[in-house]
């Protein structure tokens, strides 16, 4: 079903926070939004690979589901 824009924005915010907490994602105030999204896509790929999900770089349903699982607060990867 198409996702309402507010929901999409909320999910994106949630994903960003998750990747910051557990995958060392640092949101840089890039001049170009596209560059920022690229970096995030890389981190999503890293997270999908860690959990054995299909590696697409996209915030799809399965990836978001996994992000919403209760879990340990220690990061999965670190710089």
């Amino acid at each position: 079903l198409p996702v309402a824009p507010e929901k999409e924005k909320e999910d994106m915010q949630f994903a960003k926070k998750y990747l910051e907490n557990f995958y060392d994602f640092k949101e840089e105030k890039a001049l170009f939004k596209a560059k920022d999204l690229d970096k995030m896509s890389d981190k999503i790929r890293e997270m999908q690979s860690f959990f054995g999900l299909e590696v697409t770089g996209e915030l799809n349903h399965q990836t978001l589901d996994m992000m919403k699982q209760p879990r340990c607060g220690i990061p999965d990867v670190r710089s």
Binding site: N21, F50, P70, R71, C72, G73, I74, D76, R78
Partner: protein, 404 residues
């Protein structure tokens, strides 16, 4: 498996832990039991020993807190992050924090989080492991609800922790090998010729393991000691406990170390003084006291403290009579009577078992007081005796309590 950068680990085998506070979700004794069991998982596959201390300077401090709690990683309310822990090191190093906004439970339920399971995971961090991407491993980052009564570490967890600390001291020179969790383990004495079953991978020597727990309904089952404990009845043999509770029908299987990691297996005797909420365990010429579920400090103590002559080096069985506040100790063909009110052995003892408890076999392996009867266990026989009349009522199989 993975470790933290530079693989920090404890540079000693005796690691201390302390419990700073408790969650109101569970009785304190259940919190202590869950934490002790979690430590026991790791001590059973490494040379590490975990010793509980009661001041704030333990290597690993365990606490419950909600939201902001003094480190740079505030918790996030119900769900989400459940707990976190720090890699081995001084100060906050090794400490484990649990989010008090979660509902912590003793058993796995759909509405809460099993404290033993989460604690075992966090203690993996406290010992130096980071997350594993192997699903089913304890160090996998997300919580996976499961029945934890016979929980065993995944091979990935064992490989990880042994990469840091090596195998347990007693085992053979080869790392412990855990069979896939569902398959029964085969008991092969070290050095004995091995027949390779298709399920085994070739090893030069399979490490010897503690004797396997006998079946509940094994007609030859005998016991080392038996005692009541807060309404339950615990049957001990080697390191195993059969636990009969009025709250659920089936017999639960535990190990002594899952309750009391610092107590050795193979008790000689045990009895509960119910009005003191206290159980005493005996092994050789020493005894320990447990209040509630916690071992009292200052033990073990020599059994001579109770008034036995020095020639008595061990006791066979003990049973407490709630009505007369007397405890009977059985040694060979004799028995003593101990007054729990005056904490002293009574005069004119020892007496002959055969004189006062006619018809029962001895030496007695274990003794139990229940529902106004004494039950004396000798080999695979159990003698039910009317406490007041000291009269033998009937003889049963020792494992008649196990619904065989």
């Amino acid at each position: 498996y993975s470790t933290f950068p530079r693989s920090p680990k404890w540079e000693k085998e005796d690691v201390t832990y302390g419990i700073l506070n408790y969650t109101p979700d569970m009785p304190q004794a259940d919190v202590e039991e869950a934490i002790a069991r979690a430590f026991q998982l790791w001590s059973s596959v490494t040379p590490l020993r975990f010793i509980r201390v009661y001041d704030h300077k333990a290597d690993i401090m365990i606490s419950f807190a909600a939201g902001v709690h003094g480190d740079f990683y505030p918790f996030d309310g119900p769900g989400g992050t459940l707990a976190h822990a720090y890699a081995p090191g001084s100060q906050i190093g090794g400490d484990a924090h649990f989010d008090e906004d979660e509902n912590w439970t003793k058993f796995t339920t759909s509405s809460g989080y099993n404290l033993f399971l989460v604690a075992a995971h966090e203690l993996g961090h406290s010992l130096g492991l980071s997350h594993s991407n192997v699903f089913g491993a304890l160090m996998y980052p997300t919580y996976v609800a499961m029945d934890t009564r016979d929980y065993q570490l995944h091979q990935d967890d064992i490989d990880g922790i042994q990469a840091l600390y090596g195998p347990p001291r007693e085992s053979s020179a080869f790392p412990t090998k855990a069979f896939p969790q569902q398959e029964p383990t085969e008991m092969i004495p070290a050095g004995a010729p091995t027949e390779m079953s298709p399920r085994e991978e070739p090893t030069e020597m399979t490490p010897s393991k503690p004797p396997q727990r006998p079946d509940d309904c094994d007609p030859h089952l005998t016991f080392d000691a038996i005692t009541t404990l807060r309404g339950e009845t615990l049957f001990f043999k080697d390191s195993y406990i059969w636990r009969k509770s009025p709250y659920f029908s089936e017999i639960e299987h535990d190990t002594i170390s899952s309750f009391w990691p610092s107590l050795i297996a193979g008790f000689d005797a045990a009895y509960e003084v119910d009005n003191e909420d206290r159980v005493l365990f005996f092994k050789d010429d020493q005894y320990w006291a447990v209040s509630g579920y916690s071992i009292e400090s200052g033990f073990p103590k020599p059994i001579q403290n109770l008034g036995f002559p020095t020639k008595v080096r061990k006791i066979d069985a003990a049973v407490h009579d709630q009505n007369t506040k007397r405890t009977y100790f059985f040694v060979g063909s004799n028995y003593w009577s101990f007054n729990e009110k005056t904490k002293s052995m009574e005069r004119h003892y020892p007496r002959k078992i055969a004189a006062d408890f006619q018809g029962i076999g001895y030496p007695i392996d274990a003794a139990l007081q229940k529902n106004g009867y004494f039950y004396f266990f000798h080999g695979s026989n159990q003698y039910e005796v009317d406490i007041k009349k000291k009269k033998l009522i009937r003889i049963m199989k020792s494992n008649s309590w196990f619904n065989c």
